[in-house]
Assembly symmetry: C2
Homo-oligomer: 319 residues x 2
């Protein structure tokens, strides 16, 4: 299960009635934040999400509406006595940009670990103390983790990353299989957790006690960008596809092209081609007071479209 | 006349119901902003003050609650097609801190002029295109300006500046005096404006046509600090003394001492000793939900105390 909160749904500038596009994932009691525009920490207070247990922050790109809330949030996390490491992932140049933003801070009581433009998937394991991250060769090498994060390069006016999160689902435990493979009863639980163990000179693997692979939960997050064919592959079969819909009106297509953004219709086309389950639109232009007005432009192409609003929560469960 | 808007009245962290302490002065159609915490540009939208005509930003110190709104505001000012120079005054290190905060911005369509820790008064002249600033030897050398800005070093946990603004009032024009001094009628208006002119080999000065000096408007702004004797001199005879009141409860005196802040009572004592006309408290601790509850702690000492609130406006006129 993964709990998704849209902290804000605005793009460009922070507004009185709409926070900037930023999304919080809650997973096994720990948190992942995607983007952090000015006011993100205030939205967290408003929607009572808490911020102390944020272990990972994913930054799409360095435009102000996606990063200017970072110095404030990181300070506030420090003031709330956080001491565990925080990992921040983002495009090339992240370390430099972050050092600049934090130049006035005398200290933070926790360390920041920076990953710039990861080319390989990242395996994430959740435990009570926080999220553990490890770069892996490919998704198949992710035996002993809970979630796999991937990035994609988007087509915006600056270097920009999209993100996907795949929450793994353990196969069912099959006692008949364990008995058939002569696995001693006392190590069933270890193999069941996905771990490998050697006993009396013999190696035991999880597949010896587990059934067929089961589908997990896939969440993808694409903003800011023009639509590309690579995105279609990247988001394919997502349970939830969170996507920028900067412009609702089809007549704003030229603006979308010039500013390297998308219309609702374009986002819906991506959702259709990507065969996703649900499309959630966000990152609305400040010029668009009521994005709901343009919902039909997306629904016509992809019926399972939701227009996001600040504070919207979605619980994603295994299907 | 000077128009003062409290954009926010909070200290420490931005809250859902209280913006961070930041104050906007409107003077002859141009604007001066004092401090800029996260969300300041949103408060400006909420209170419909406009931000394009901000010519001068005065920064007290580099704690996040006073500066983390700068990159966003400066971007937004750029996006609104501002091209005129913006001057920013602040403590030593301002250039470095600002360069860091703005590292991710590819460009701004206007220039920023930085003044670090000015030791001398600054004469400010307002015209339609903006505010012109000039460092002067002392306030007496400020003949041809509309306002004089001064700074004072405060006693906070980091280098911190207080500000005062003196809006000058021109003496009355006295035609009898002009005639007595044989000033040609065609140059009366020039002298009346405070300018000096030479005609037919003779120099004419403003005092030849003007009456006695008249009291202007003094506004002083003190946050964040412990009370000091230097502050009493600096704020003396202010029409409005805007002062931090981080803690309302007298029992928080120890906290105030440790965190280098003030209680309401301490701020009121400064107001009394400084013989100011009115005390306006701001920069309330996030732990204080309703500062009004503690008003009596200030009133008892200095009756003309106002508890600030976000969006509060004060019009200061010549007395």
């Amino acid at each position: 299960m993964i709990d998704v909160t849209l902290l804000g749904t605005g793009g460009g500038m922070p507004m009185v009635n709409r926070y900037l596009a930023s999304t919080l994932l809650n997973f096994k009691g720990r948190k992942i934040l995607i983007d952090c525009g000015e006011g993100t920490q205030v939205a967290m207070r408003k929607f009572k999400t808490g911020f102390k247990s944020i272990d990972l922050i994913c930054i799409t790109h360095f435009h102000g509406d996606h990063i200017f809330g970072l110095p404030g949030l990181l300070s506030t996390m420090g003031n709330s006595d956080r001491t565990e490491l925080v990992t921040i992932i983002g495009p090339y140049g992240l370390a430099k940009v972050l050092n600049g933003l934090l130049l006035s801070l005398s200290y933070l009581p926790y360390d920041i670990y920076i990953i710039e433009n990861p080319k390989k998937p990242i395996a994430i394991k959740a435990n009570k103390a926080g999220l553990e991250l490890e770069e892996i060769e490919d998704s198949k090498a992710s035996n002993n983790c809970d979630m796999v994060l991937k990035t994609i390069e988007l087509d915006h006016s600056c270097h920009c990353l999209g993100y996907s999160f795949y929450v793994k689902r353990m196969p069912k435990f099959v006692p008949e299989k364990a008995e058939l493979n002569n696995v001693p009863k006392e190590i069933w639980k270890i193999l069941q957790r996905g771990e490998t163990i050697e006993q009396n000179g013999k190696k035991y693997f999880p597949h010896m006690v587990l059934g067929e692979e089961r589908r997990g939960i896939k969440l993808s997050y694409i903003t800011d960008t023009r639509p590309t064919e690579e995105i279609v592959d990247f988001i394919s079969d997502s349970d939830l596809f969170i996507c920028e819909g900067t412009y609702g009106d089809n007549e704003d297509l030229e603006k979308a092209i010039n500013n390297k953004h998308m219309t609702f219709e374009e986002a819906a086309n991506l959702a259709l081609k990507g065969n996703v389950n649900e499309l959630l639109l966000t990152h609305f232009s400040p010029s668009m007071d009521e994005p709901e007005v343009y919902k039909e432009n997306a629904i016509r192409i992809f019926p399972k479209t939701i227009i996001g609003h600040d504070g919207m929560r979605k619980l994603l469960n295994y299907r």
